[in-house]
Symmetry: C2
Subunit: 352 residues, 2 copies
């Protein structure tokens, strides 16, 4: 059994950038597997999807994929072949999908790709479906969206967070453990690095490194623009880089940031406290920004070292991850403690 | 007479990244001119420099440049050949240079390259030297410093701000007008786009687009780092770009931001006001970031349009500037009004 082998078909609901790319990537990986193992008689990974838009579904079918625009029919098929269902829609569509899954695919396990994990987990618990659910967050994207923007290599070397709160909050079933392993295998199969995290820890981390950057970029873009034509004419690299993500579609930015408002408030308050201190220092007779600038520099250097930004270009054709790796045996003794340790160190995991 | 012809030798004091690059760029441009015009007998542009460090001066001499490490001797030479003196040192060294220029090169005009213009102009006025001074700010740099980092192409397509307050504050002499033209010619000769601005307008603009980005980047770097290993492991493009300039040497960041503390406070207060509004909105029952995100997006799109970031890659081998151009005749009727109009529109100028 291959380390990346998934034990069941995969059914993807929603074929936008993330869902569409997942469908393409799994189909491609499955073809490569069957190319390598064509002397064996074992079945390839079956992957199929649903998209609400008939025209997008039809385009995907024309591209050679197994795609329907009938949700009920797709879920009935998933129930029959015990597929792993991937909810690849934004947050507002999740509750509706939980309703129809309850009715038409009552024995299927499922995962999701929403960028904030607390609200999804809460909803799943309210539906009493926590023993069938493993949360996921593939941290990949482009400026474009929809099936036409999707690509098979979107997740290569990207982070895919997989949550594990249910293993702590409840006594998880063997089925849940198998589901958890399959979600990890699925993410690994498309080239992502799997990082385990609990929902609260995940949401706090992305508030700091993914949502706060948007608030600061929007702010900088406005203050620069308020300076008029001279300011925009003098703007160079620091302004261009500092405002880049302000070019993201506003509805996407709002969905991420507003859904994560509790954790984002904490990160924003830390930022405001640092900026207010800097303001106090600028008001002094002999203005000094030593605290902010020295600490910010040290923090950036730490990030560069950790992410390998300052590493010499490797001559190896193989990508070597900068993240430490934990190999763990799901359900084994201490495995939850190992997960928490991996979360604390931001380590990627491999399931053995 | 060529549009870029400079009427006198150029003497550069300080051969770090900016001064060294200017020496290289002027020497190169002069060689290219003499290569083109070798049927004429006209003299090439003479350019020489001074560096405090004997070893850096010696390296520059070995690289083939006319460089001394004797300041007094260099200034005496400048006085004899009526050179344009370029103060290519940071702010703290300016007062000392004004002292020795007053004594040893009392008839030379001079310019500077300090990134904040208000403090230099104030100092020059206090020294009673405003009719011999034209402020400059070449907006170019790399992460490295010193003669070894300097390069002849550093200013190509970069902005070079040239100030003109003296034309409004006083009745400038004909010598000052000639000096102003020579500073514009010098910046044009090394490939920069010259944008005229008064010191207060310059300092306000760079506070918005050059100094505030540093404060926000330092802040983001610290808040991300405070999240520990998980946060840094999940950090991707938005964090990397948003913190990039926090990797700049702290003493350089502090020198820029602290010197410009008055204008930076205004820009920071605008940013704090926007972030505090966002905070209030996040605290509401139904959190909305519509104001910040929609306005930030519009501002970024305006910047992209203005800077040509969203333009199709041109097939032309010639670079076409995105800035409007004003052609003006220094000292002619309305020329100060034309300068103010160019400043208001962030236009580059050409002297005819």
């Amino acid at each position: 059994m291959s380390i990346n082998e998934i034990s069941r078909p995969i059914c993807i609901l929603g074929l936008g950038l993330i869902g569409g790319s997942l469908l393409r990537a799994l189909a491609q990986a499955s073809q490569m597997d069957s190319g390598r193992d064509n002397q064996h008689d074992q079945g390839d990974l079956v992957v199929y999807g649903y998209n609400r838009s008939p025209s997008a579904a039809s385009t995907a079918r024309n591209d050679g994929y197994d795609v329907s625009n009938d949700l009920i029919e797709t879920l009935q098929r998933a129930e029959i072949d015990k597929a792993l269902i991937v909810l690849a829609t934004p947050m507002p569509a999740i509750a509706g999908l939980l309703d129809v899954i309850s009715e038409h695919a009552p024995s299927c396990g499922f995962t999701d790709v929403v960028s904030v994990k607390g609200e999804v987990y809460k909803l799943v618990q309210e539906y009493g479906m926590a023993d069938r659910y493993v949360g996921g967050h593939p941290m990949a994207g482009t400026a474009h969206s929809g099936w036409s923007a999707s690509r098979a290599d979107l997740f290569r070397r990207a982070v895919w967070v997989v949550t594990f709160d249910h293993a702590i909050d409840a006594d998880p079933s063997r089925d849940w453990l198998r589901l958890w392993v399959d979600v990890v295998h699925m993410a690994s199969k498309v080239g992502a690095e799997v990082i385990p995290a609990r929902v609260r820890q995940h949401d706090a981390a992305v508030a700091r490194v993914s949502h706060l950057p948007h608030l600061l970029a929007e702010t900088l873009a406005i203050v620069g623009d308020n300076g008029g034509a001279l300011s925009l004419s003098l703007a160079a690299g620091s302004f261009r880089d500092g405002t880049r993500v302000a070019g993201t579609a506003p509805n996407l930015v709002r969905a991420m940031c507003e859904t994560n408002h509790v954790a984002l408030l904490d990160a924003l308050d830390e930022a405001l406290s640092l900026l207010n201190d800097a303001r106090d220092h600028l008001l002094m007779e002999d203005p000094s920004l030593a605290d902010l600038v020295d600490n910010g520099y040290r923090s950036r250097i730490r990030f560069e070292a950790r992410s390998g930004l300052n590493k010499e270009q490797s001559v190896s054709p193989t990508h070597i991850s900068n993240r430490p790796v934990f190999r763990l045996h799901p359900g084994g003794p201490q495995w939850v403690n190992q997960l928490i340790q991996a979360e604390n160190t931001g380590a990627r995991i491999e399931v053995v």
